[in-house]
Symmetry: C3
Subunit: 314 residues, 3 copies
């Protein structure tokens, strides 16, 4: 290796860090650890779907000792991460409606409540697996849904993260759902409320914003956005309901966008592919885009035209 006199670069970088543009955290280890939170998330998936995902480093033949070991591991690591996250949020230090508890008290309260909620998460996930199997003719069996469907993976992580979000834990729920987003292309904010029997097929490009509310037996496809009408006011909109409400038994086909905090899609409605919707839709309605006007030139032979203006892309 050449001698690159890296010492000078290091000195310049370090004095640059001290400018404090807020993209450095000089007090090491004060931030939650993204890798540890990913590992916790994978372990939580093993707890809610036991027997589907293997341990790499050791084997268990006794269910009780296996689950006990997983839970202790999750608690040990999650406790530390929650503690670190709560230190960034004095207004998060509430417990049973009372504010002003210590970070330690709040952390313990979160862990206890969260562990109990895992049973509810499992109850909901069982309905999601059933909805995916019943809804997809390409599904071989329910094992395939758990082993190979990105939608169930994203929904499982979202249901877990949503419990921490409800307990007013900052940063960690969002790191968990971003992990799901990275693996599946499905971006559901941990704030979203989702009913039973939720099915997302394929899922790449799905975006569901923080204040959306989704009923039971809802089915959505790839590229669907449940979004806000403009967020140009930025942080001024914090806390407002900016995203739509989807009632029970609604189906939303691929590429559709449904926008706005006052938009309600009524029970049983079906929203066709690529529809762009900014007002409420009645129950039982079927909405589709009118036949798109297409320009069809019946061709002779193809030739390469460099500047043609009518079909497109990178």
């Amino acid at each position: 290796m050449e001698n690159y006199e890296t010492g000078e670069i290091v000195d310049t970088l370090i004095s640059n860090y001290k400018n404090d543009e807020h993209i450095e955290e000089i007090e090491f280890n004060s931030q939650p650890d993204v890798d540890v939170i990913h590992e916790i998330t994978r372990k939580l998936l093993r707890i809610v779907f036991p027997g589907y995902f293997r341990e790499k480093n050791f084997k268990f033949y006794n269910l009780s000792s296996y689950i006990n070991s997983l839970i202790e591991d999750v608690v040990y690591n999650l406790e530390k991460q929650i503690y670190l996250a709560l230190q960034q949020c004095p207004e998060c230090l509430d417990k049973n409606g009372v504010v002003g508890v210590t970070v330690k008290e709040k952390t313990e309260y979160v862990i206890r409540t969260f562990l109990q909620r895992l049973l509810v998460v499992r109850e909901y996930l069982a309905t999601d697996v059933k909805a995916a199997f019943d809804g997809d003719p390409a599904a071989f069996n329910k094992n395939e849904i758990i082993l190979a469907y990105p939608g169930i993976w994203a929904i499982a992580i979202n249901r877990i993260a949503h419990e921490l979000y409800n307990l007013n834990v900052p940063l960690i729920p969002r790191i968990m759902t971003e992990y799901a987003h990275s693996k599946t292309g499905i971006d559901i904010h941990p704030g979203v409320t989702i009913g039973k029997y939720f099915f997302i097929d394929h899922g790449t490009g799905v975006v569901i914003g923080e204040t959306a509310v989704i009923g039971e037996h809802v089915k959505i496809y790839q590229g669907v956005t449940l979004g806000a009408l403009s967020t140009r006011a930025g942080q001024m909109l914090k806390g407002q309901k900016r995203h739509p409400t989807i009632e029970d038994y609604v189906t939303i086909y691929s590429g559709a966008s449904i926008l706005g905090g006052n938009t309600v899609i009524g029970k049983n409605a079906v929203i066709g592919g690529n529809a762009f919707i900014t007002t409420s839709i009645d129950a039982d309605a079927k909405v589709s885009i009118k036949n798109q006007e297409l320009d069809i030139k019946t061709g002779t032979k193809k030739e390469v035209v460099q500047d043609e203006n009518w079909f497109y892309i990178i």
Copy 2:
């Protein structure tokens, strides 16, 4: 760490597992191992593109011993996974048209046939790499295609998984293609039949359903769906041709959706960006959406309007 009395939670979880909502697999190790199948998939990519991806743990300077070692490793692990998968599917136990062979016999038959088919997979992949290089002005050389193009990665895994799908192996082909989907955003079902010289550029959001058939020299871009017209009948549609046929030399630009099992896109046709097509298109045709009506307000200064209704998003 606090004492969280995890014993009680574990007991409750374990009794909850026994409710058998089919999201647990109490007989450990009866499911195929997703992580092992991902590792097999990476090794198969090293076999079909030798010399492009490095070994972490050891080095070889002799091609023959390197490939031999990779093949033995793949066979050893794949054999076990196929065995586990076939145990879930009595109707998959066929061999040369005869049904009712044992799981062991079928497993051996699959391995032998699959190894031989790797040569054909390589023959097809060589054409795909050529198509990508010829088709993309941003490509530097063919090495770049193999090292950094998500499309070739997704196609390679699909061609490998499709061989196992054709041999009537359940679960594993789908786990392989979902691995590709997770890494590339390209979701191609292992059932899809794809001709030579296939090029997918960018690829995020591409969805190609199980019964689609794709000819030679086909080129598609990000966000293209080759899908079904409604799947509300769910499992009742199993086995039907639900997805379109794309003939040779067709180009499909980004965001286009082509839907339905009877839809055929004829030879040489070009489908423009965002077109939404549910009927067949003649050979040589050029299809584009008619100029979208745009509402252009020449602006004064921007101002923040919170409830404006005409531009959008989360």
Copy 3:
């Protein structure tokens, strides 16, 4: 394990490799190592955002020795990778406008210049984090932007890769941005020029082509394409400006496509969701798609119709 006589398969494969369809690289270790480049990329992110991402294998309590160790590690590994990449590109061997330097000279020149540019990368990234926080009502604090926003991750890797692209290094910049694409669904070519205060929200499906130019304070959402009008001429178009120019303070909502090398979106313009634009737009304009014609059937009860033609998807 069965005896599968793998020797025969290996022999056939090896003789097949020698057909040289250019999908094998029999001279091992002549290609850049994708895994090593990913690891370098992760270490560079630790250098530009110090304190946010942890080391797994060791701990540092002294900032200067930590950064020094990271820089030395990056230099050691990057030097080798750049050397391998440059060997494939005689026309890349320029330095300060003079062509014909050796691979070794060029490699040293690249490393020295690149290290100094990291300060500029950090200066730009500080503005991007600020833009993300100010622009998103769901953001909790700036730490959340760095820890959990895919847009900032993709932009950071792009800004790093762009420095190597500008220094005329082949392959490596593209491997870096494809790593970001795989993790985030955001596909930005390393050739793109991007001003300060760039914000990508959600981001899945974003595609920005090699010759695009983006001003300051630009904000884009998921599914946006900044692309070319047809690339059917393939390699013949190399070097031409094929992708649009986006001026300062432009906002582009989700799913919009803006295409063509002569297309300029003027300062302050706002492009509405799903707009499809192939000509220039004036400064301060607000562009939206005219109300999409929707077909709304007020429903009775849902029934399963297998061949219905009006809503769609896989």
